[in-house]
Amino acid sequence: MTCRSARSRRARVLSGAALALALLSIAAPASAGTEEPAGDEPASEETINARLIDQRGKQDKPVEGVTVVVEQGGDEIGQAESDADGLAIIPVPGPGKYSVRVDPTTFPKGLGLTDAAQEELPNVQVFAGRPKFVIFGFGERLDTGKTGFERVLNLAASGLRVGLIVAVAAVGLSLVFGTTGLINFAHGELLTFGGVVAWYLSASDGGLGITLVVAGILAVILGAGFGAALERGVWRPLRGRRVGNISLLVVSIGLALFLRNFIQVIFGSSPRPYEQYATQDPWHIGPIDILPKNAIAIVICVVVLVTVALLLLRTRLGTALRAVTDNAELSESSGIDVQRVIMAAWISCGALAALAGVLLGVTQSVDWDMGENFLLLIFAAMIVGGLGSPFGAMVGGMVLGVAFEASTYWVPVDFKKAMYLGALIIVLLVRPQGILGVRERVG
């Protein structure tokens, strides 16, 4: 997150070791447990990439010329000096656990580690075939001189942005669930699709170099097409075979695994930001500091959500969508072309998810598992708001986003995910129909 608060920055520094590990996903125990006879394997490509950042200012600056040493069991494996980007890359002989430390004698004058206890990261796990990122934060964190209330307001603003993006994604998921009953675990990959497609369209190196606004619009159109293709190629034929919803749920998990890893092969495993709008000076709106791109993301989400709501309420197709959601058989018997309505739901779902992916890419960065990371939050938004109700999904996304970002003022940031998942569970137990759902929908 670009407008990450000092507190969450700290959390990222602290749990830096854990973050990149998570990228490896489930392959971890497997690859680590394999006994490979050494020698006939391809040369190892494992490195430890240490990033040294000066977090005194509003924008992080790289720290140059600091020596980073990698050791294993007391033996030095290698060392490197951080370059102009604050990056020190140390090749390591293979997967395993290493200790990484910075040499304080090489620190720039007057600059120390933010947390002196972090001079050595004793337990950095490197997995096969992947660079491992660690972060060293330098400098006293900026004291913004804001009161507690103002900081909560700022957190709430960033929560509003996350919540709105989640709401946009959740509306799509909700439309599909409402019309077909499918709980689509591959929904996250629709977001990733949008983010990645826009990256390839907009990148000047390795992409087409189209300006990001146009690339984003194209990605949304392609996302709509992707949704339509999935409906036509996968879900409609399966419904035709009378495959039940729980089997379809498992199919969607398989599809998610397939798409996500396929995207990783193409896109690679490191996060990449879009080139445009990467660095910006914040706007000061009253007590709230907000990056222009984040403010614009909020506006786009609001406009899109209002438009979707109006379409659902005022157009024939929207009415048909709601009718099918309410009762598919009855709608069919009253002359609504249900297959066409479901196709419309999938097209909207693909487009909305792609838009959410692009906005996440702009406000954070593009990553092969960005959608997966948001999937449970999207589910939570949909369920808290009311399963199958697109308006509920909007409300749910906003409520969860604001409540939990603001709560990080009081609660450690690494509990945030646990908290919204907890909210999801509690809502399911106490009011399974959600905030806006209708009681009888729940069986």
């Binding site: 590990l21 996903s25 489930i26 709980i183 449970l376 690494d414 998942l421 137990l429 399974p432």
Partner: protein
């Protein structure tokens, strides 16, 4: 291309500790999903509490390892109660979401820096399984035939793990043919009918969740003992999906299915990795793929397999199609 190596890599993994741990996890799922129809998508949470229950007990209290295992098992029963009592009244697909969310909550808490004194946070807990290896009856050395060999410690873990797999399979076999097993299946087929015959479906579902959870927790302990280490990254949500793949390959509801499913899964999974790495190394794919792509490619293959199996052969190899289609009732 060295097909001998590809084959022996596959065989090594099919017999290895991972396959045994996956088999245990899938046997547990089979009790819950296969026999009772509970859509538990948080099985990895049971593995997690098994591993952490053991590790924390030994590390914090200095208790012997067997006491740790006992705590791990109790923790799994506790998790089944905490999860099951409020959620088993929910619809099947809701249960899926609650369980996956709960497993993820446990993982987030396990990896949190704020609980580091207790769970080790992201750095995990190590150095608590030594007494397991002290019991190793095998003298140091490598054991095996040809290219498939294991060191004495791995062989020791394998021996215990596969013994657990056999015991769990026998338990499921006995369970399945007992009157209790028939009640489980009747709940899967028609819960209302079972209730109308006076069966307390709610309590029985919690019991099923607990039995499957304990078997899963044993799998978690096997993995943690094998690495003598556990941290939050071992227990990511997609792990549960691999367990489902294993179960569906072998056959939902069948006793031997999860075991052979796990062996076949690891054989294919590892051979594929070996094949891809060799092919990439020899430049078969030119510049299109690099050796880092082998991992995601084989997972993509797993995803495709899961999809196609679920569509075309939901009963897997050994299952019964009628039993395999658990769906909205």
């Amino acid at each position: 291309m060295d097909f001998g190596k590809i084959f022996s890599d596959g065989v090594r993994e099919a017999l290895g500790v991972n396959a045994a741990a996956y088999a245990l996890a899938a046997i547990g799922l089979n009790v819950q999903y296969g026999l009772t129809g509970l859509l538990n998508f948080g099985q990895v949470g049971f593995l997690l509490v098994g591993a952490y229950g053991t590790a924390i007990t030994v590390k914090e209290t200095g208790a012997p390892l067997w006491a740790g295992f006992l705590v791990g098992i109790l923790a799994a029963i506790g998790l089944a109660a905490v999860l099951g009592i409020p959620t088993l009244r929910l619809r099947a697909d809701y249960l899926a979401i609650v369980t996956i969310a709960s497993a993820e909550i446990l993982r987030v808490l396990a990896g949190s820096r704020h609980l580091e004194g207790f769970t080790g946070g992201p750095f995990g807990i190590r150095g608590w399984a030594g007494s397991f290896y002290d019991l190793n009856p095998f003298s140091p050395g490598r054991y095996g035939a040809g290219k498939v060999s294991f060191d004495h410690n791995t062989l020791w873990v394998m021996t215990v793990a596969w013994t657990l797999v056999i015991l769990a399979s026998v338990l499921v076999w006995l369970l399945k043919r007992s009157p209790y097993g028939r009640v489980l299946r009747s709940i899967r087929e028609d819960e209302d009918a079972a209730r109308s015959l006076g069966k307390n479906a709610y309590v029985i579902k919690i019991q099923s969740l607990a039995v499957g959870g304990v078997i899963g927790a044993l799998g978690g302990m096997v993995i943690a003992v094998n690495f003598q280490f556990t941290n939050d990254d071992f227990w990511l949500s997609p792990f549960t999906f691999l367990m489902y793949t294993v179960l569906i390959i072998g056959g939902v509801g069948s006793v031997i299915g999860p075991v052979l499913g796990a062996m076949l899964f690891w054989f294919v999974y590892q051979s594929l990795d070996s094949l891809l790495r060799q092919a990439i190394h020899e430049g078969v794919f030119g510049d299109v793929l690099t050796s880092t792509d082998a991992g995601p490619l084989r997972l993509a293959f797993v995803g495709l397999t899961l999809m196609l199996l679920m569509i075309y052969r939901p009963q897997g190899i050994f299952g019964n199609r009628q039993e395999a289609l658990i769906d909205d009732r």
